[in-house]
Subunit: 311 residues, 2 copies
Amino acid sequence: MQEVRRRNIFHRYSNNPILKPEDWPYPANAVFNPGAAIYEGETLLLVRVEDLRGFSHFTIARSKDGKTNWQIDPKPTLEPDKNIREEIWGIEDARIVWLENLKKYAITYVSHSMGGPQISLMLTEDFKNFDRLGPLLPPEDKDASLFPRCIGGLFMLIHRPIIRGEAHIWISCSPNLKHWGDHRILIPVRPGWWDAHRVGLGPPPIETPEGWLVIYHGVRVTASLSTYRLGIALLDLEEPWKIKCRSQEWVFGPKESYERIGDVPGVTFASGIVVDKDTGEFRLYYGAADSAVALATADMDELMAYIMSCI
Amino acid sequence: MQEVRRRNIFHRYSNNPILKPEDWPYPANAVFNPGAAIYEGETLLLVRVEDLRGFSHFTIARSKDGKTNWQIDPKPTLEPDKNIREEIWGIEDARIVWLENLKKYAITYVSHSMGGPQISLMLTEDFKNFDRLGPLLPPEDKDASLFPRCIGGLFMLIHRPIIRGEAHIWISCSPNLKHWGDHRILIPVRPGWWDAHRVGLGPPPIETPEGWLVIYHGVRVTASLSTYRLGIALLDLEEPWKIKCRSQEWVFGPKESYERIGDVPGVTFASGIVVDKDTGEFRLYYGAADSAVALATADMDELMAYIMSCI
């Protein structure tokens, strides 16, 4: 019965992948792992573009329905700043939230320094001018997002440091977006399970009446590849360092050829989510095999019914 | 000539080691790596005591002249709190500073959690009641001390995380001792040198007219052991993330039998320093071979002349 539930939660868009390197207006090796936001009535994706040197930057693609007719900026929207040591090997994997109390979009991303990947923050109001606030924590860290609102007067951050070779999801707090503390493990790996070897945040957490909905990736390392699948957790609304429930099963994973064949085969890496408040449709944007951008949809009620059944 | 200089900087106390396990009023495997402070006119050492299970706690030893007649607390002064997850495997390696703006002593120490060693903080006014503030940063981290005063309105912390297997000395800032940011590498390892494989802060930084004097340990890993020696750096007074100079040579290292023979042979691990303002005598307390506490003295003028010659 859980098998049936699981198969029904996320539905691949029929015209996947929605964005491919060959769609790009300039030479690109791969386009993947987009941040997503609704901006001026359109769906905006901040797409990670890997160039032919192997370094990544961001380019915006826009669509009115979030599915078709993507308008791609003719050149890179945001390139690594050569004067910033942390970005020397590129910028990657944006997560976007609207920070109501700052009236700005907050973009957490990976700045790839020589000392390893770090999580950095920038703010924007218009997706044209970006205010870089720099790295939040030392390397090695990835897969970070702010919560869209403060909790107990503090900004909250989900991130995924690698500590002594272990890759759990952590949560941290800050009074000012600059100094971080109260570092706690939030979602640990589960040895033996499908999410045994690494976990990491997918798209930003979404506030629901039942709690913060978190979609995360879990990795199992096999003899030939690392398989990136998705699981779900629900966090307490006012004490988000407490997990109310966590799916035992993965809910989405590599199946189609564009997920199984590519630069990094076997990867479904969700990083952007948009919720249509009228229809209750979740649109989940994900990187497929580190090569293209794909879309899966879910119904909010079904998704919540599933995760609540895990409690 | 530098050889001559180096030999003359630190002088071993003739009755070393000053504290040994057999001096202890209760069974102890090793006594080492003490924090040091002047309290009520006496030299107070907060000694790391490793018990026979292999876990460490702190016990105070006091002496009027800092050299002889040590009065050791008859039982552990401060044990790991069994209810604190981070301290499950013990507490280790205290560094003590007098925080003038809080009018309290700040003790940074290693709390040994199952997830690895972390740096934790406690405050005390009387070395009887200790107020635990918890871990400051995620594991794996050690060798931490606050600066004795705020700089630019921020508390400053030196620490030594291990990131991707690399063990450099970092510096971080906080407005409130709880949330930390502006994480920067301060003193990196030097491949090929005597401090090639790991570096870590020794005793707390000392303010001098020329800058913050930092004594640190550097580790070279050889086929049979890891040799812990001491080097010196001078940091800018108001921008302590800037190094004014760093000794090329090590200035102190294992030589005597109590430094070369013990639970961890080849270790001179300085963690406490006391300055006699009248005589200009530095008293450096160090763990010898992770087994006993030893003392070396230096003349402030000679030490400063040496480090200034490195600029």
